[in-house]
C-alpha cells in the first residue's frame, strides 16, 4: 500500500500580528506563538482522510527546522500521522532548498502522494510544491479544493482566479492545498499522549548532501506604508456627499 508524505512548516501563528524590528533586521519572533502553517494542517487532514478511506497505508509528516519543530510534528502525530521526520536546520531554507530536501525524503520513502500547503503564511512564497514537482519530474496539482483518487491517478479541483479548474494527474504527484479543501480536526488529549510514543526520526540537514545555500539576500525589512487616517461619516447622505466630492461616484 502507498504512503503519503505531508510537509509541515513551523510558522508564526496565524493570529499573531507580525511586527518589523525597529532596526529593520527582521521581524519579531522572540516569544511569539508558533504553529503548524494552516495550509499544511489542511494537507495533513486530507492525507488522514485518504488513509481512513483506505487510499493509503501510512501518513508521514516531515518538517525542516530547528529542534523546537518537534512540537509541530508531535501535533501532526496527535492528529493522526503515523510517524514523523525532522530535518534539523537552524537556518531557514529558501523554497528551492526545501524542495531539494523533500526530494531526498521522497527518494527515501517513495510516497505515492506528497501533500503540501500552497504557501507558508510567513514568507508567502507559494513555491515549494511546484519546485518539488519539477525536481521530481512529476505532476503538480496546486491550490486544491477537492482531491479524488482513482487508482493510479488523482482528479484535482483547483481554486484558480477564474473559478474552479479540474485537472487529472498520474501518481505519484505533488498536490498543494487551498483553504477550502477541508476543515482540520481538533486534537484530543488521549491522542496527544499516544503521539508521544509514535516514531519521530531526526536527520541532520548536513547529512543529506543537498545544496541549501541561500541565493537571495534580504537587505532590509520595513513596515508597510501606513494609510492616511480616514474620516467617519454619520449617515448615508454624508457618505454620498464625500464620495461625490472625491469624484468616486456621479
Amino acid at each position: 500500500m502507498s504512503k503519503i508524505l505531508v510537509g509541515l512548516k513551523r510558522v508564526v501563528d496565524y493570529n499573531v500580528r507580525v511586527r518589523v524590528k525597529p532596526d529593520g533586521s527582521g521581524v519579531v519572533t522572540e516569544g511569539v506563538k508558533m504553529s503548524i502553517n494552516p495550509f499544511d494542517e489542511i494537507a495533513l487532514e486530507e492525507a488522514l482522510r485518504i488513509k481512513e478511506k483506505g487510499g493509503a497505508s501510512e501518513v508521514i509528516v516531515a518538517s525542516i527546522g530547528p529542534a523546537e519543530t518537534q512540537q509541530q510534528l508531535r501535533t501532526g502525530l496527535a492528529m493522526g500521522a503515523d510517524r514523523a521526520i525532522l530535518v534539523q536546520s537552524e537556518q531557514a531554507l529558501e523554497p528551492l532548498s526545501a524542495a531539494r530536501v523533500f526530494l531526498k525524503l521522497i527518494e527515501k520513502e517513495s510516497p505515492q502522494i506528497v501533500l503540501l500547503g500552497k504557501q507558508g503564511i510567513d514568507d508567502d512564497n507559494n513555491q515549494t510544491g511546484q519546485m518539488l514537482a519539477a525536481l521530481w519530474n512529476r505532476p503538480q496539482a496546486t491550490f486544491a479544493s477537492k482531491i479524488e483518487l482513482d487508482g493510479t491517478l488523482a482528479r484535482v479541483t483547483r481554486e484558480v482566479d477564474a473559478g474552479l479548474e479540474t485537472i487529472e494527474v498520474d501518481l505519484p504527484a505533488v498536490l498543494t492545498t487551498d483553504l477550502r479543501l477541508n476543515e482540520p480536526r481538533y486534537v484530543k488529549l488521549p491522542e496527544i499522549m499516544k503521539a508521544k510514543k509514535k516514531p519521530l526520526e531526526t536527520l541532520a540537514l548536513g547529512d543529506l548532501g543537498v545544496d541549501v545555500a541561500a541565493q537571495f539576500k534580504t537587505l532590509n525589512y520595513a513596515p508597510p506604508p501606513s494609510r492616511q487616517k480616514g474620516i467617519m461619516v454619520k449617515d448615508v447622505p454624508e457618505l454620498l456627499a464625500t464620495l461625490k466630492q472625491k469624484g468616486l461616484v456621479q
Partner: protein, 313 residues
C-alpha cells in the same frame, strides 16, 4: 543589457491585463528589452494584442495544441527552452503565474522571487511577506537568471500604443503526458473583472447568508462593480471562492473599495491595501477595518445599503 521575457496570461482568446502590468514592472529596469511570450493553441490574435502593449520589444508566439490550456507541467519546459536567451523571466502573481513560475525556476536551478511590488535595480526588488505586514528588499544573485512573479496590484498596465514585431517560435521541449486538463467552471457573472475593476463592493460574515449576500450584488450592479468577499463569507458559503479578496485570495487595487460587514482581518486587509479609497460599513465601531478605511460608516448594513442604493439613483 537586461533581457526580460514576460509570460503572457490569457483566457477566452483575450490577454489578461496582468500581462501589461508585468511589462510595466519589467520596463522599470533600466536598459531592459522586454519580450512577451504567448503560449496558445492559436496565438495570432493574442500575439497581435500583446504587440500593442507599449514598451514591448518583440512578441514570441508559441503555437501548439498542447498549449490550449495553461498547464504548468507542460508550459514550464517550453519556457525554460526560451529562457536561455534572457536574464529575467517574469510572470504575473496570479494563480496562473504562481503555478507556473516556481516550476520554471526549479528547472533552471534558480530560486524564484514572489510578488515583486517595486523595482530597485535589475537584481534588487521589494516584496511583501507576512500578509503584507513586512516589506523586504531582496537582492538576487547577479550571475543567475531572475525568475519572478509580479504583484499586479502594484503596477499600472502599460498602454496600448506599441507595435512590436511578432515572431513564431518553435521550442524544443519534451512535454509530459502525466497532466491533463479536464474542465473549468468559470462563474460567468457579466461583471467586470475583480482584479482590474475601478470599483469593488465586498461582503463579509455579517451578511449572514447567501440570500442576504444579494444586497451586495445589488449595490455592485448599481455601481457597475464586481463583487468581492472576505474569507469568512466564502468559508460560510455566502459567496464563491473566486470572489475571495486577501492574502490567499485576490490582491486588488481599485479606485473605490466598499467593504460591507467585513471586520478587517489582517489577511483581508493585505488584499485591499492598494485601493485608492476604502469605504467601510460595519455595525461594530471597533472593527479593525475602520483603521484602514478612508471613510467609515457605523451602522446596520441592511438599512444602509438600500438607502445608499436609492440615493445613487
Amino acid at each position: 543589457m537586461t533581457h526580460i521575457l514576460v509570460i503572457a496570461e490569457h483566457a477566452g482568446g483575450k490577454l489578461n491585463p496582468a500581462t501589461a502590468k508585468c511589462v510595466t514592472c519589467a520596463s522599470q529596469i533600466s536598459d531592459a528589452t522586454v519580450d512577451v511570450a504567448v503560449f496558445a493553441a492559436q496565438a495570432d490574435a493574442l500575439a497581435a494584442e500583446a504587440a500593442q502593449i507599449a514598451g514591448v520589444n518583440r512578441v514570441l508566439k508559441i503555437e501548439d495544441a498542447a498549449n490550449a490550456e495553461p498547464l504548468a507541467a507542460l508550459l514550464a519546459p517550453q519556457v525554460v527552452s526560451l529562457a536561455q536567451k534572457y536574464s529575467h523571466v517574469f510572470g504575473p502573481s496570479t494563480t496562473f503565474g504562481k503555478d507556473l513560475m516556481p516550476r520554471v525556476a526549479a528547472l533552471l536551478g534558480v530560486g524564484q522571487l514572489s510578488d515583486i511590488m517595486a523595482v530597485e535595480a535589475s537584481h534588487r526588488f521589494r516584496r511583501p511577506i507576512y500578509a503584507g505586514n513586512a516589506i523586504i528588499t531582496v537582492e538576487a544573485p547577479a550571475d543567475r537568471k531572475v525568475v519572478a512573479t509580479v504583484r499586479t496590484a502594484s503596477f499600472q498596465a502599460a498602454g496600448g500604443a506599441g507595435s512590436a514585431p511578432i515572431e513564431a517560435v518553435d521550442v524544443t521541449a519534451e512535454l509530459p503526458s502525466h497532466t491533463r486538463f479536464i474542465s473549468r467552471s468559470a462563474a460567468a457573472t457579466g461583471r467586470p473583472d475583480l482584479q482590474t475593476a475601478a470599483r469593488v463592493v465586498s461582503g463579509g460574515r455579517a451578511l449572514g447568508s447567501a440570500e442576504n449576500f444579494k444586497v451586495i450584488y445589488s449595490l455592485a450592479d448599481k455601481l457597475g462593480a464586481p463583487v468581492g468577499a472576505s474569507r469568512a463569507a466564502v468559508d460560510a458559503g455566502y459567496a464563491a471562492n473566486d470572489l475571495q479578496v486577501g492574502q490567499t485570495g485576490k490582491i486588488i487595487s481599485p479606485e473605490l473599495y466598499i467593504a460591507v460587514g467585513i471586520s478587517g482581518a489582517i489577511q483581508h486587509l493585505t488584499g485591499i491595501k492598494d485601493a485608492r479609497t476604502i469605504v467601510a460599513i460595519n455595525k461594530d465601531a471597533e472593527a479593525p477595518i475602520f483603521e484602514v478605511a478612508d471613510i467609515g460608516l457605523v451602522g446596520d448594513l441592511f438599512a444602509i445599503l438600500p438607502e445608499l442604493e436609492k440615493a445613487l439613483g
